[in-house]
């Protein structure tokens, strides 16, 4: 096992609102090893982005409350001063965002924005920084990087802007790259290119990656481990193989079942998970997925802990069902009603 870079322990993020306290993240724990790709999957509002934004302490809301600890190389960055935290942001932990169309400042040249990331964290001449910016743009596959470095963001296409964002994030060789839905706003053909790029660059830059997405198909390619989030908590966590071939949580089954697949009999309509995610203000008692779960039973009124229930230590889930039972019934959910009928 490689050296642990990041350790998140029982992270809780809540927001006070007029309607009550929104528990956006409720007891999330995970670790990230050097060079690893961790995929975090969940639907909108499951707390993926809030988790990541609060890792970097980027949420600036007077009504927010954060508990728990985030250890970066053994140091709790939740306790750092704002000045120290700035040294971490963009240098040790960098982040790219969902919408490349709006994530770059429209009034500054792309190159200057990359240069800004460089000079903020290191002692470097402007000339050298510019050279490095051109190199970075080349590495992320921008053609004619020497002249494109002086372009404004509006002269770049969406895919190119995301490449430029990646170049900017990698400028300081960060240990960790957090990619928050990096492909969601892009065309399907560009999505694959961007994922491939992240996959290649993480080795070149020796960075660990946390990839947030609502699309299991995105993490299937490049993630080593996957965490599935639901209602502010991780409901299943394991190696990619285990998660895809031996999924333990009914919510994961539902997610897998809602991917259209060409290798299975054609369905009348795409499978979807019944019901809506719970309100984060009044969460259901016990297992948070219980109201939508077709397999819920009496015991589900107590919340199951995230522990290993199958063979081996590395595959964790939050479901009371017996492992054998789960293995017997899950195919039906994953393949959908038509296939079963």
């Amino acid at each position: 096992m490689a050296e642990t870079l990041l350790e998140v322990n029982d992270l809780k993020v809540s927001f006070r609102t007029e309607d009550g306290v929104v528990k956006a993240v409720d007891g999330v724990s995970f670790t990230l090893a050097k060079g690893e790709v961790l995929g975090i999957v969940g639907e909108s509002g499951s707390g993926k982005s809030v988790t990541m934004m609060s890792l970097l302490r980027l949420i600036n809301d007077p009504n927010m409350k954060v508990e728990g600890e985030v250890l970066y190389k053994g140091r709790n960055i939740m306790k750092l001063s704002e000045g120290r935290m700035r040294e971490v942001r963009g240098a040790d932990i960098a982040m790219i965002f969902q919408d490349p169309m709006t994530s770059l400042n429209p009034v500054y040249r792309v190159g200057d924005q990359i240069i800004e990331a460089l000079v903020t964290h290191r002692d470097i001449e402007k000339q050298q920084a510019k050279k490095r910016a051109v190199d970075l743009l080349k590495q992320v596959g921008i053609p004619q990087a020497e002249s494109r470095v002086d372009d404004f963001p509006h002269q770049f296409s969406g895919g190119m802007r995301q490449r430029a964002m990646i170049a900017m994030a990698l400028a300081n060789n960060p240990d960790i790259l957090i990619a928050d839905e990096p492909t969601t706003a892009l065309d399907v053909t560009i999505q694959a290119q961007i994922l491939e790029l992240i996959d290649r660059l993480k080795d070149e830059f020796n960075s660990a990656v946390i990839l947030i997405t609502h699309d299991l198909g995105v993490v299937a390619d490049i993630a080593d481990r996957i965490a599935v989030m639901y209602a502010g908590r991780i409901v299943e966590f394991g190696d990619k193989r285990d998660l895809f071939y031996d999924p333990q949580h009914p919510y994961t089954w539902g997610l897998l079942g809602s991917i259209p697949r060409l290798d299975r009999p054609k369905q009348e309509r795409l499978h979807s998970i019944e019901g809506m995610p719970p309100s984060l203000i009044t969460l259901p008692e016990g297992c948070k997925f219980r109201p939508r779960c077709p397999h819920a039973f009496e015991k589900c009124k107590q919340e199951p802990a995230l522990v290993a229930r199958v063979e081996g230590e590395r595959h964790l889930d939050r479901c009371w069902l017996d492992v054998e039972t789960k293995r017997a019934i899950r195919e039906k959910t994953i393949q959908g009603a038509t296939a079963a009928a």
């Binding site: 970097l56 980027l58 007077p62 700035r86 040294e87 971490v88 942001r89 963009g90 240098a91 960098a94 982040m95 965002f97 919408d99 709006t102 994530s103 770059l104 400042n105 429209p106 009034v107 800004e116 990331a117 903020t120 964290h121 404004f152 509006h154 964002m165 900017m168």
Partner: protein, 323 residues
């Protein structure tokens, strides 16, 4: 750039033509303004009126009269006031211009600096008492009419507190040219500057604060923070510049209007013989040649100010630069 300038010049000429024709027509369509009656004095003989009409070309058709006036204004530049034959219009404007410029430039510097400062402070201290306090002050500034504020300033600095250490340095109302005595120029103008800028400081500070708060939620501001930039740099480099776009367009318009004679109340209250005062006097006596000249002068500066705004716009936001 050359294309831009040429297009603007054509636009300027079109605006000036339209505005002079309109002023001209409105003037002659207004009842009771027949200048020959004014010029002829009290109870004139019809023959005298006719003679004056002929002398001033007022018996000729309107288009000819318009062309004659434009010729005397721009070509021979010897147009004189209807009311006062000794008042040559062109020199009157050129001697009033430096006064207005001095007043408006100084006030503009004060209001730009102070409103940006106030807007930034309000955003930095958002969530504390400082922000609403500044905004209430701004609102008070906007609510005070400039003529009233000017009179109060006069009352305090010229009368009530003039003999105390606070305001004994304030010279009597009036104007000293910059070239004659820079220090006296400054002393004469400081109170008018502050008076004129109060409204704009309040207004611009509120506009800037609103724009800054808008921009604060933009994705690229989050990106800037994620890069590890200091709050100061995020605010000054990434938020302020995009927030300045509304500010600049407002400034162009207000500045153009003020230079073009809009500072009339301030000029009258402080006895500054500027273009505003000239306009005011000519309007009171319905003196077409002077009205015409001040209108052209005003339109010229408003158009120029708008062209400058467009240039500054393009500097601020590369997306609107012509390719």
């Amino acid at each position: 750039m050359a294309v831009f300038v040429i297009r603007r010049l054509i636009g300027l000429i079109a605006v000036l033509f339209a505005i002079t024709v309109m002023t001209f027509l409105i003037f002659f369509a207004t009842p009771g303004v027949d200048p020959s009656r004014q010029l002829a004095g009290r109870n004139p003989q019809p023959a005298v009126v006719a003679a004056i009409k002929h002398q001033f070309g007022l018996d000729r058709p309107l288009p000819i009269r318009y062309l004659l006036m434009m010729k005397r204004l721009f070509v021979s530049r010897d147009l004189v006031s209807y009311g006062n034959q000794a008042l040559k219009v062109v020199p009157a404007i050129t001697s009033a211009t430096p006064v207005t410029f001095s007043l408006v430039f100084g006030a503009a510097v004060i209001w730009v600096v102070l409103s940006i400062l106030t807007g930034l402070l309000a955003v930095v201290f958002k969530g504390t008492i400082v922000d609403p306090l500044l905004m209430i002050l701004a609102l008070i500034g906007i609510s005070m009419p400039v003529f009233w504020l000017g009179e109060v300033a006069n009352l305090i600095t010229q009368d009530r507190l003039h003999n105390t250490f606070l305001f004994h340095w304030v010279p009597p109302n009036g104007y000293t040219p910059l070239t004659a005595n820079p220090w006296q120029w400054f002393l004469h103008l400081i109170i008018p500057w502050l008076t004129l800028s109060v409204l704009y400081i309040g207004f611009y500070a509120r506009v800037l604060r609103a724009n800054l708060l808008d921009v604060a939620n933009e994705d690229y501001v989050r990106t800037a923070r994620a890069k590890g930039l200091s709050e100061r740099r995020v605010l000054l480099k990434h938020m302020l510049r995009t927030s300045m776009i509304t500010f600049v367009s407002l400034f162009g318009l207000d500045f153009g209007v003020l230079v073009g004679g809009g500072a009339i109340l301030t000029e009258v209250v402080f006895g500054l013989p500027g273009v505003g005062k000239l306009t005011y006097d000519s309007l009171v006596s319905l003196d077409l040649p002077v009205i015409m000249a001040t209108v052209i002068y005003g339109a010229f500066f408003i158009t120029i100010a708008n062209a400058l705004v467009d240039i500054v716009y393009a500097r601020l936001d590369p997306r609107i630069r012509p390719a």
